[in-house]
Symmetry: C2
Subunit: 359 residues, 2 copies
């Protein structure tokens, strides 16, 4: 069957060449006589894959040696708990910026372990913008400040970072990691569920500044203890070996295709194509304040639920799937991660134009 254009918010499209490589090696990893699925994580053959994945990700993201690179179980939501369990140890207080659904959930989870100050929120605007960072007053001596760099459901992104002084900045970058340059040095912690831009579901990438390690809450489950994971190269227990292998393949593919800067340029081209069409459309509208528009998740609505549904059906007939928006926003959402080709966005825009003429 012909490949569809899959605009899913995650798990999401993976480049065809990456899938081909994985499929070709699945029965037998070159020279090893077994599948990567069958490799003990304690063997040198798997450690080679692990070390390559770490090293390639360091190259792709320009991660300095001040930061550990870990591949941990469970996605971003597991790290919602791990962040306070590892970092709330001073005044047991942290600042959260509430800019979307996952930002909100992260803050709610942190309340189990200490005091959470919501220092800025766009919740009252249904998250159609990012609050003015210059107006935020951060808590002196907070253990950390938490942001969500791209808001998957609402289609917004931070275009600049808050200045948090000596307080570590912690970011959930699940839906825009690897899509544009990020200065890792500005962050105490970056974490991301892999299933959007990095690989398959079931693993989170964690970058953590080494000086922040070693102060976990005594009630922290050992698998969530970052210092212990760092000491054990992500192998306090058996890691998600296949996902780590896939991360290696995705990083190789990115480096073969110009790295983050080239992907960023392509992502802007794809997003501009779609936003330009939306701005010219009489039927479809993007509800986001333009300066905060996400490059990864483009939300659009007609304002008429029946038309939204008809459009989603029309898309499915044209090989475009998973375009329905999240229930919190309604309408449609096109997630156009690194692996979504320009051709997919062109096809979507053509399909939107054809639909608009019909109705």
């Amino acid at each position: 069957m012909e490949r569809v254009f899959n605009f899913s918010a995650g798990p999401a499209v993976i480049d065809e060449s990456v899938l081909q490589k994985a499929a070709s090696e699945l029965m037998s990893y070159p020279g090893k006589g077994m599948s990567v699925l069958e490799m003990s994580h304690r063997t040198s053959m798997f450690m080679d894959i692990y070390n390559q994945a770490v090293s390639l990700l360091r190259d792709v993201m320009d991660i300095p040696e001040t930061h550990e690179v870990l591949f941990l179980h469970g996605g971003a939501t597991m790290q919602f708990s791990a962040v306070p369990l590892n970092l709330m140890h001073g005044h047991n207080v942290a600042d959260y910026l509430d800019t979307g659904n996952f930002a909100h959930l992260a803050a709610e989870e942190a309340k189990k372990y200490g005091t959470v100050n919501i220092v800025a929120s766009s919740r009252a605007d249904n998250y159609t913008n990012i609050p003015d960072l210059s107006a935020v007053s951060f808590t002196p001596n907070a253990d950390y400040v938490h942001i969500t760099t791209n808001n998957t459901i609402y289609g917004t992104r931070f275009v600049s970072l808050p200045d948090t002084g000596d307080v570590p900045l912690v970011a959930d970058a699940s839906s825009n990691i690897l899509s544009e340059p990020m200065d890792v040095r500005r962050f105490g912690v970056i974490y991301a569920g892999a299933q959007k831009n990095i690989g398959p579901a079931g693993v989170a990438v964690l970058l953590v500044r080494r000086d922040l390690l070693g102060k976990a809450n005594p009630i922290c489950p050992k698998v969530l203890d970052w210092a212990l994971q760092a000491k054990n190269e992500s192998m306090v227990n058996t890691p998600n070996t296949f996902a780590i292998y896939m991360i290696k393949l995705v990083c190789e593919w990115m480096l073969q295709n110009g790295g983050v800067s080239d992907f960023h340029a392509r992502n802007r081209e794809k997003a501009n194509l779609l936003y330009d069409y939306l701005d010219s459309s009489k039927l479809f509208k993007n509800p986001v304040q333009p300066e905060y528009r996400s490059l990864m998740n483009v939300v659009f609505v007609t304002g008429d639920e029946a038309k939204d549904d008809a459009f989603c059906k029309f898309c499915a007939q044209n090989g475009i799937v998973n375009i329905k928006g999240h229930r919190n926003v309604g309408g449609m959402r096109a997630s156009i991660y690194n692996a979504m080709p320009l051709a997919g966005v062109q096809k979507l825009v053509e399909t939107m134009a054809r639909f608009e003429k019909q109705v």
Copy 2:
């Protein structure tokens, strides 16, 4: 390259037909135009796979409707924390039977959350047996009793279950689940890392009696809250979708090959072949008290480290890999899970015999 015989303790061998099926579908799941790796967990196409995995596992293990079936992140070690976080809510005390390395680690982790009574231990015997269960005195009103049904490192197994009365019995069955019939009704909870007998690494199977749900500790990370996971069909966050798909394939393969009872018969045949050889050997010895010998992990030593090393090298030259024992025991260990064919064990025994003649 020809497939090797992989005796790894986990991640471990997967049947060739299962790998072939996965490889053939990896580029495009039949009729869907995308890989299973790209499927949103919120779509009906993935929910079909999920529901099939649950239903097939229910068939394979004869799991009654009194028990939930969940596929959770992180393997058994993550559940070491989840068990007390979900079940310690009465007197905040639990009984643990210390019969091996993972049993010990599970008890250590539980101490973070309440009182742990080690009610029996074979630690002083270097875990070469299972303590006499009739002599154990369990704590009245304990929240649960925890056992490890098969001890991967030491090669022992429970041959009968303790009678814990009304106190729920909780079992880590990572290394013998699906290898022999288990009466699920006797357990409050069974959990298992998948990477030995069920599928790839990065997921744990959890069977939990429904009446035990809903009393999690308020500090339990939400992803570890079993009641919340049950309510959300294992999808409090994005699950390990690929691993769940592989579990479905493994269950299909098991049902096509006679189910648990036939696998149990084959497992006994494989284990007997190896233990019979060991009992007749003048070079190799199995240190385990015979009645407690594992069907899954067969430990053997020569008593001479140089000979052990020479044997492992000899194996590698003959297409037998990952036969080196765990450092706690030394010597060798052959993990002969469901997917290890009889031919692999025959080859191992022949290789042992050839080596024994040489030295």
